[in-house]
C-alpha cells in the first residue's frame, strides 16, 4: 500500500496541522526546529534541555505547525519529559513526524524507529550530526536504509544548516514506515490479541492500534490513561491480558519487547552501516575523559570554577558594576533624573516616588540595571559556554558520590547547576529526573540553598569586595546546609535511590552565535521578569515607608534581625524586599554595605541566600509539586534560614 502523503485528497492527513520532531535526547531536534521555523528555543549540549513541547509555524508551509518535543530515551515513556512526547503523539492533529536521529549511533536511532513504525504515522528519518559520524569513520547507506524502512532518510547537519532543503522536500513523500520486526511467537500472539482489543475498544483516529497495544503492554502510562478513558470498564480486559502475559514468562514483558526491538535495530544497522577500523580516538573524547578522570577531574573543575569566578565575580560584579553603578548611574543618570523631577514637579511625594530613597528609578531601575544586569550578563555568558561544551553532563559523574549521600544520583546536578542561572527554570528541568522522590528532594534543595545568578552575583560583589574569608565562610555554610538538609530529606522522603546511568555527550567547542543567542534570550527573559518585580517591590517599600509601616516592621523585626542575627535594624527592610525576590533583598543588603561589618555581611547574605524562594520560583514549584508541597517547603525554608543565620552569627562572634 502506498502511504505517500497525497496533497489533494479532502480526507488526507493534510487536514491535520502538526508535524512532530521526535528523537533521543541531545540529537539536535531543537536546532532543527530553529532551522525549520526560525523560532529559537534553548539549545544545549546535554540531554534534557527541552522539557516541554515547543510549537511554531513552519517557514516552508504556514499551515503547518511544528512541535519540538523533549528527547525520549525510550518509549514506552518513563520520565515526565518522555510522557510529554507521548502526549503530543496521542493528542496532536499529526500530519507527519520527523524522527531526528544521531547518525553515529544508528542502532539506537533504529530502536526508536522500530517502535514509531508500529504507530503508523507518516515519517521522515533525519540522520543528524552526520559530520560527527564521518569523523568517527561511520558511513551509512541512506538509500538502502530508506528502501528497508520505506520512508525518506535524509542526512543532516542541523548546526551548519546542511541537508535542510532535502529534508523539507522529503516531507512531501513521508510515509508510514515498514515494520522492522515481528516479535517471537508467544509475544507476537499477545501483541495481536492486545491490538484486536484496542481496535475494538478504543481505536485512535491517527495512531495504529498495534502501536498503542505495544506501548500499553510495555507499560506506557500516557497510553494506559488514554485507553482507560476511551474504553471505560472494558479497560480491565486489557489489563488482564497484560497480567497474564507477564505471568507467563520469567522476564518482564516490557523488557522482552524492548530487547526484540533492539535486536531488530542491531540487525538492520549491521546491514546498512559501515565502520572504518583503526581510527584514532577524537581529541574531544580524550578531553571528555579527562574531565571525569578520578584525579584530573577535580583540578579541571576547580579551574572551571576559577574562570567563572573571575568572569562573574571580578569582571562582572566589580568592574562592570563599578562602571554602571558608580559612574553611569551614580554620576550621570541618577543626578540628571533627580534634577529633572525636582525641576518639573518640585519636592514632594511624587518626586520621592521616582527619585527618593525608595524611588522607582533610584532604587528599582538602578538595582535592576546597574547592579544585577552586568552580573547576570557575565554569568549567562559563562553558563552558555559550559552548557554547549558538554561539561555539565560530566559534572554528574564527578558529583555522583556527593549526591548519593543525599539519596539522589549525579543526574540531579543538572537542575542544580541550572538553578545557579535561574531557580525558576531549573525547577522545570527537574522533569528529567526519573522518580517523584528525586524531583521532590531536588526542588526542595534548590528552593532552599541554590542562589540564582543575580543573587550569586550580588553575594560575590558584596563579600568579594569586603573579605575573601567571608566569601569562603558563606560558600561552606551554604554547601553544609545543602548537604545536611539533603541528607535528612534523603532519609525522610520515602522511596529508593536510583543508581546513575547517563550518556556523556561529546565535548564540543561552543559556537559563539549560539552562546550569544542564548545569552540574549535569557537576558530578555530576565528583564521582562525582573524589572516589573523590582518596580513593584520598590513601590511596596515606598508605600510601607510612606504609611509608617516600614519603621514599624524594622522595630518589630529587631529581636530577630538585630538580636538573633546581629544585623543593623535597617536590614529588616532587606528581608521584606527578599519576600519578592531573594536577589532584590540581597541587593538591599548590598546597598547597606557601608553600615555592615564583614561578619554582619556574611550572616546577612547566608540568611538571605537561604531565605524564601522568589515569587516566580514559588509559582513554578506550585505548578510542578502542588500548592500543599510548596507551602510545606516555605514553612521549612524560612525558619531554617533564620536558624542557620543565627547560629552562624553566634559562631562567628566567638571564632572570628
Amino acid at each position: 500500500m502506498d502511504l505517500t502523503l497525497p496533497r489533494t485528497s479532502p480526507e488526507s492527513p493534510l487536514d491535520h496541522t502538526a508535524m512532530l520532531l521526535v528523537g533521543h535526547p541531545n540529537v539536535g531536534k531543537s536546532v532543527l526546529f530553529h532551522r525549520l521555523t526560525g523560532t529559537y528555543v534553548n539549545v544545549s549540549n546535554y540531554p534534557g534541555t527541552t522539557v516541554e513541547v515547543s510549537r511554531a509555524t513552519a517557514r516552508f508551509d504556514r499551515a503547518l505547525s511544528l512541535l519540538d518535543t523533549p528527547g525520549v530515551l525510550s518509549l514506552p515513556g518513563r520520565s515526565d519529559d518522555e510522557r510529554a512526547t507521548m502526549r503530543a503523539l496521542l493528542h496532536e492533529e499529526l500530519r507527519l513526524a520527523v524522527q531526528v536521529g544521531d547518525a553515529k549511533n544508528l542502532r539506537r536511532t533504529l530502536t526508536l524507529t522500530a517502535l514509531l513504525a508500529e504507530l503508523g504515522v507518516p515519517m521522515v528519518l533525519a540522520l543528524n550530526m552526520s559530520d560527527e559520524a564521518s569523523a568517527r569513520g561511520v558511513a551509512v547507506d541512506h538509500k538502502a536504509l530508506s528502501e528497508v524502512l520505506r520512508i525518506p532518510v535524509v542526512p543532516t547537519i542541523a548546526t551548519g544548516g546542511s541537508g535542510m532543503q532535502p529534508l523539507i522536500d522529503a516531507l512531501d513523500v513521508a510515509k508510514a514506515p515498514a515494520p522492522l520486526l515481528h516479535y517471537d511467537t508467544d509475544t507476537e500472539a499477545v501483541v495481536q490479541e492486545a491490538t484486536a482489543l484496542v481496535e475494538e475498544l478504543a481505536p485512535h483516529p491517527r495512531l495504529a492500534s498495534r502501536g498503542l497495544a505495544i506501548l500499553f503492554l510495555g507499560g506506557d502510562s500516557e497510553v494506559e490513561q488514554w485507553l482507560q478513558e476511551k474504553s471505560g470498564d472494558d479497560y480491565a480486559r486489557l489489563v488482564a491480558l497484560r497480567c497474564a502475559a507477564d505471568a507467563a514468562s520469567s522476564e518482564a514483558l516490557a523488557a522482552r519487547l524492548a530487547a526484540e526491538r533492539g535486536r531488530a535495530a542491531d540487525a538492520l544497522t549491521k546491514t546498512v552501516m559501515d565502520q572504518s577500523a583503526h581510527l584514532r580516538r577524537p581529541m574531544a573524547q580524550r578531553v571528555g575523559q579527562l574531565a571525569v578522570h578520578r584525579l584530573w577531574g577535580w583540578p579541571i573543575l576547580l579551574a572551571v570554577l576559577y574562570v567563572v569566578y573571575e568572569l562573574v565575580g571580578v569582571f562582572g560584579a566589580e568592574t562592570l558594576v563599578g562602571l554602571f553603578e558608580e559612574q553611569l548611574f551614580g554620576e550621570v543618570l541618577n543626578p540628571a533624573v533627580t534634577d529633572f523631577f525636582n525641576r518639573i514637579f518640585g519636592a514632594g511625594w511624587f518626586t520621592d516616588l521616582f527619585v527618593g530613597q525608595y524611588g522607582l528609578w533610584t532604587m528599582g531601575m538602578t538595582y535592576a540595571l546597574a547592579l544585577i544586569l552586568p552580573i547576570v550578563t557575565t554569568f549567562f555568558l559563562a553558563f552558555g559556554v559550559l552548557e554547549d561544551s558538554g561539561y555539565f553532563s560530566r559534572l554528574s559523574v564527578i558529583a555522583n558520590r556527593m549526591f548519593a549521600m543525599l539519596g539522589l544520583n549525579g543526574r540531579a546536578v543538572l537542575p542544580m547547576v541550572l538553578g545557579l542561572g535561574c531557580v525558576t527554570m531549573a525547577t522545570l528541568t527537574t522533569r528529567i529526573l526519573h522518580t517523584r522522590r528525586e524531583r521532590l528532594i531536588t526542588t526542595f534543595l534548590m528552593a532552599l540553598a541554590i542562589p540564582c545568578s543575580a543573587q550569586l552575583g550580588v553575594v560575590l560583589g558584596l563579600l568579594g569586595g569586603m573579605t575573601f574569608a567571608g566569601t569562603v565562610i558563606w560558600a561552606v555554610t551554604i554547601l553544609f546546609v545543602l548537604l545536611f538538609t539533603g541528607w535528612l530529606a534523603g532519609k525522610l522522603v520515602k522511596g529508593r535511590r536510583i543508581p546513575l546511568v547517563t550518556e556523556l555527550p561529546p565535548m564540543r567547542l561552543p559556537v559563539l552565535g549560539n552562546v550569544l543567542k542564548k545569552t540574549g534570550g535569557r537576558l530578555k527573559w530576565y528583564l521582562i521578569e525582573v524589572i516589573p518585580l523590582f518596580l513593584l517591590g520598590t513601590f511596596i517599600m515606598y508605600m510601607l515607608d510612606r504609611l509608617g509601616i516600614l519603621p514599624w516592621i524594622i522595630r518589630a523585626g529587631e529581636p530577630l534581625v538585630t538580636g538573633w542575627l546581629g544585623l543593623p535594624p535597617e536590614a529588616s527592610a532587606a528581608f521584606v524586599m527578599g519576600f519578592l525576590r531573594r536577589d532584590f533583598g540581597a541587593t538591599g543588603l548590598f546597598a547597606l554595605s557601608s553600615q555592615l561589618s564583614a561578619e554582619q555581611a556574611v550572616v546577612g547574605m547566608v540568611t538571605l541566600t537561604l531565605f524564601i524562594p522568589c515569587i516566580a520560583s514559588m509559582m513554578m514549584i506550585i505548578k510542578e509539586q502542588g500548592a500543599r508541597t510548596a507551602a510545606l517547603m516555605v514553612g521549612m525554608i524560612v525558619p531554617t534560614a533564620f536558624l542557620v543565620g543565627g547560629i552562624l552569627h553566634q559562631l562567628l562572634r566567638i571564632f572570628w
Binding site: R108, A254, Q289, G297, I498, P499, L500, V501, E503
Partner: protein
C-alpha cells in the same frame, strides 16, 4: 554466545574490549530497560574507558557512565585485543 568466561563489568580493566553477555537477574527491570534504550544489549561489543569514579563504556561512539551498582550487575566477556 561464545563459551568465554563471564566477568562482572566492574572488574574488567580499562581499555578492554568486551561483549555484553547477560544482565544479572538482580538488576532492576526499569534499569535494564534504560540500558537497552542506551544501546547496551546482550551480544553488543563495548569498550571500557574508565572504572573510577564511575564505570564508563563506549557503545557505538557514545560514552555511557554507569554507577558501580549497575556495572556489577552486567556480565561481560572479554574480546581479543585486536577486535574491531
Amino acid at each position: 554466545m561464545s563459551n568465554r568466561e563471564h566477568l562482572r563489568l566492574i572488574g574488567v580493566p580499562v581499555g578492554s574490549k568486551i561483549r555484553l553477555a547477560e544482565f544479572d537477574p538482580a538488576l532492576d527491570p526499569l534499569q535494564r530497560e534504560q540500558l537497552l534504550a542506551y544501546g547496551l544489549s546482550v551480544g553488543h561489543p563495548l569498550e571500557v574507558l574508565q572504572q573510577s569514579p564511575l564505570t564508563v563504556v563506549l557503545c557505538d561512539h557514545v560514552e555511557i557512565a554507569l554507577e558501580h551498582a549497575v556495572a556489577s550487575d552486567l556480565w561481560v566477556e572479554k574480546l581479543p585485543r585486536h577486535a574491531p
